[in-house]
């Protein structure tokens, strides 16, 4: 499948044009045909480079600049996406210089960091980009030598012919860019990969370890004002009035004004803005019910008991199956609200003038955010430029761009460059949180076979969508149903790393563990037997591959010594498919002073071709520990619309001494790659909980685990 020929639209070619500063720029755009011109992703007017297209620029000396198209939140795409281009371009990675591209809807497609989709969606276009540029360079060399392009070979950016002549890419770049864009380009066979599959360090590692300014908060502009915003202390409150007399008397304060339901404090430095904000005297009134977590628990449990559900998928006849069952297992699983807590708090730079809108900062959705700002300020989208900084974490919070909108609104009022900076307290209390969700799962067992499976979800503002109902065990149980219902909350909720499944996996994988106990069968074999039933299915809705799931299960069993652990080591198993990747995990727990302690998590992953194993392992280690940490400690409790923890003194994140060793193994195959930012997280919590059950006999059904006094004292 990797050698399939792809067609590049001829019309997307942009002709060469001379630059005032010397040199030539060439661009062509593989993604959006018919565009009259292609704007380079950064200002290249001062550079003497020859642009090959939106992604590649080749200098006379052969140095290749590749623009990383997607936002970098720590998932590694600033390294891995350019690797894919470089592979097909056939250059040495040592000669590649990676630059973050800006928002450019003409050049790039899907500039989003989310859903673990960057690599999956980029795989074909990125390879075609590299391969097409390579073919044009070969064609240029062949023309110069007067031979057929087929007689040329390429290695590390050097084109050779049979006579021993050699030409570097840089030497033919100008000629090549003037040639026709080849319609069909041959892509490499995976066996010929030289860069894909190699351990390539993070392209920003030198800058990170020496403290170079890379992040949104590091973005500075001459004359920029620092803005601290006072927002409603509780969800459901409205600003009535405020007294800023003291705040205005504070050093460094430049301006204070209301915008919408908020108050902006503008100052000459971050500290002065934050300090003055604390002295504002604001009066708020209740605009709607002020919700507490206690209320959420009650509402959601009531909903689970109700008949208000919307059915996402229904196979067979659940009613009949349960009526004929000789055993029924039913469990309810509960999760709290979680904040994202990106270590770099939300922030954004905006400079709004009558002529243009300049934006810069960390956002996972640059295009959507720029569009929202254009709409809000009633401006043309074309007036907006957006520079993407490296992000100090995203985890879904930076999908929303509300912080960028605030910066644009404030700058629009003062007509000065501003940077809105959230304090940690702001960040935690003005969240778009992981919704609190509860599941009730029932299994109908007859003659010790699983004949019915019914999952109900009740979530704040909704959680699962249709795709989740086609995950395991859909297709494996004759009578299957998934129903959802939600409670409309004033508290804003949204995507949180591995949205939809970060808690669903816990519920289901805990349930299967208990189901096996109830049926008296082997926990792993139960899953393998069910997967057998899905093989060869004609149901196109089924999202996972039973064969690939079986592979990761078998691999993790072998690597973790499942069932053969040393005395005193208690193991828990889980296997889950989400974000197009298959993962199985085994957690090893030991008892220390009567408390279960997680020592190791073994992880087997099938994400297809592993583009950058070094980065991939980092994602898996991080995803597993993040999943463990939040299952164990994560809990944002609300009282009267306000979160009760707003900083790390009262909100617990996992730290070094609590972390297990993560051992990861990848299935080797030639299947097109899928994402890794999320899939290792969902199965981690249930693997740990299942190991705790093995160690203590106590089954956890509620997160955070730490609140269970029977287990953790």
């Amino acid at each position: 499948m990797n050698t399939k020929k792809h067609t590049i639209d001829r019309r997307s070619f942009l002709k060469a044009s001379a630059l005032t500063g010397g040199g030539l720029i060439f661009g062509f755009n593989f993604f959006t045909a018919c565009k009259p011109e292609v704007k380079p992703p950064v200002d290249i007017s001062k550079l003497n480079f020859n642009d090959f297209n939106g992604f590649i620029r080749i200098a006379d000396n052969g140095v290749v600049t590749i623009f990383a198209p997607n936002p970098e939140i720590g998932q590694g795409v600033k390294t891995s996406m350019p690797m894919i281009i470089a592979e097909e371009l056939d250059v040495s990675w040592d000669n590649v210089h990676v630059v973050q591209g800006g928002l450019d809807t003409d050049v790039f497609k899907r500039q989003v960091a989310g859903g673990s989709q960057s690599i999956r969606h980029g795989w074909n276009p990125l390879r075609e980009t590299g391969a097409t540029a390579k073919q044009m360079l070969i064609n240029a060399a062949a023309a110069r030598w007067g031979i057929d392009a087929g007689e040329c070979t390429v290695e590390n950016g050097i084109i050779s012919n049979k006579n021993g002549d050699k030409l570097g890419y840089g030497e033919v770049a100008v000629e090549a860019a003037a040639l026709e864009v080849p319609k069909n380009v041959k892509l490499k066979e995976p066996k010929d990969y030289k860069i894909i599959g190699q351990d390539i360090p993070n392209v920003d590692v030198d800058e990170i370890i020496t403290g170079k300014p890379l992040f949104g908060l590091d973005y500075k502009k001459e004359g920029m004002l620092y803005v601290s915003v006072l927002r409603p202390p509780a969800f459901g409150q409205k600003l009535v009035s405020f007294d800023d007399k003291i705040a205005r008397s504070k050093e460094g304060v430049v301006d204070i004004f209301q915008f919408g339901n908020k108050i902006a404090v503008l100052a000459n430095s971050t500290w002065e803005a934050m300090r003055a904000k604390k002295t504002l005297n604001a009066v708020w009134e209740n605009d709607s019910e002020l919700e507490s977590s206690e209320d959420h628990d009650k509402y959601l449990l009531d909903l689970l008991d109700s008949n208000k559900f919307k059915t996402l998928r229904s196979d067979g006849n659940i009613k009949k199956a349960f009526a004929s069952a000789d055993k029924i297992l039913e469990r309810t699983y509960e999760s709290p609200v979680l904040p994202h807590n990106c270590l770099e708090p939300m922030n954004f730079f905006a400079s709004v003038t009558d002529e243009k809108i300049e934006l810069a900062g960390p956002v996972q959705t640059p295009k959507g955010t720029a569009e929202r700002i254009a709409k809000k300020l009633d401006r043309d989208f074309k007036d907006i430029s957006l520079e993407m900084t490296r992000m100090g974490g995203g985890f879904g919070r930076r999908l929303y761009g509300d912080f960028a909108l605030e910066a644009a609104e404030v700058s629009n009022i003062v007509k000065k460059p501003v940077q809105v900076i959230y304090s940690r307290e702001d960040d935690m209390s003005a969240g778009i949180y992981r919704p609190s969700t509860k599941y009730r799962i029932r299994a109908a067992i007859k003659d010790n076979q699983l004949i019915g499976y019914h999952l109900k979800e009740a979530a704040m503002n909704g959680n699962s969508w249709k795709g989740m109902s086609d995950f395991f065990p859909a297709g494996a149980v004759e009578n299957y149903q998934m129903d959802v219902v939600n409670y409309k909350s004033e508290i804003t909720t949204g995507a949180w790393r591995a949205p939809y499944t970060n808690f669903l996996a816990f519920a289901e994988q805990s349930f299967f563990d208990e189901l096996a106990e109830t049926m008296g069968v082997d926990k792993v074999q139960l899953r393998l037997d069910l997967l057998q039933k899905v093989k060869g299915t004609k149901d196109k809705r089924i999202q996972y591959s039973p064969e690939r799931m079986e592979d990761v299960i078998n691999m993790v069993i072998e690597k973790s010594n499942w069932g053969k652990a040393k005395e005193g080591v208690f193991q828990g198993f889980s296997a889950y498919y989400c974000h197009n990747s298959h993962v199985a995990e085994v957690a090893d727990v030991v008892m220390e002073s009567g408390i279960p302690v997680l020592k190791k998590v073994t992880c087997a992953i099938d994400c297809g071709i592993v583009v950058n194993p070094l980065g991939a392992l980092n994602q898996v280690e991080g995803g597993v520990i993040d999943g463990i940490g939040h299952a164990m400690y994560g809990n944002l409790n609300f009282v009267n619309g306000a979160p009760q923890s707003v900083n790390f003194d009262s909100y617990r994140l996992i730290r070094m001494k609590e972390t297990p060793i993560v051992e990861s193994y990848f299935i080797e195959n030639d299947i097109a790659p899928t994402g890794l930012g999320e899939p290792a997280l969902p199965p981690a919590g249930p693997a740990f909980a299942n190991a705790i059950k093995a160690a203590t006999g106590i089954r956890l059904t509620k997160q955070p685990f730490i609140d269970n006094k029977d287990v953790f004292g």
Partner: protein, 151 residues
Amino acid sequence: MSKFDLKVNDKVYTVNVSDDTPLLWVLRDHLNLLGTKYGCGIGQCGACIVHLDGEPVKSCLLTVSLIGGKSITTIEGLSENGDHPVQKAWKEIDVPQCGYCQPGQIMTAAAFLEKNPNPGKEEIREAMHGNICRCASYNRIEKAVAKAAKN
């Protein structure tokens, strides 16, 4: 506003700021030394750690008026070319994911290894416990500290 002479990375800077300004914001907003990061402002995450006469301190809690003539080292001054053994180990292990917490992690590790050049596994885990890595690159941080000690 008061004037303070601060010795940062072997250079003396004069700043004119309020007495209660935390060193973190003096470094970031006044000296444009942006490697020291803001994470929580209450000394709980370690992203802002710098060395004060070689000791690791949380710069978000250290007000500028309390520094006096003490010598401040930030991530920018840890080594001339990014080649401090801890930085080298961080690069070899390819520790960072988002990278935001890493200057604080590196400064903590460097001060720790200065005092305890041959730490055991548990000592490393104890020493790094105060620094939050939200991406949870903890396995690699642990390995990198051990590697830096070895080198």
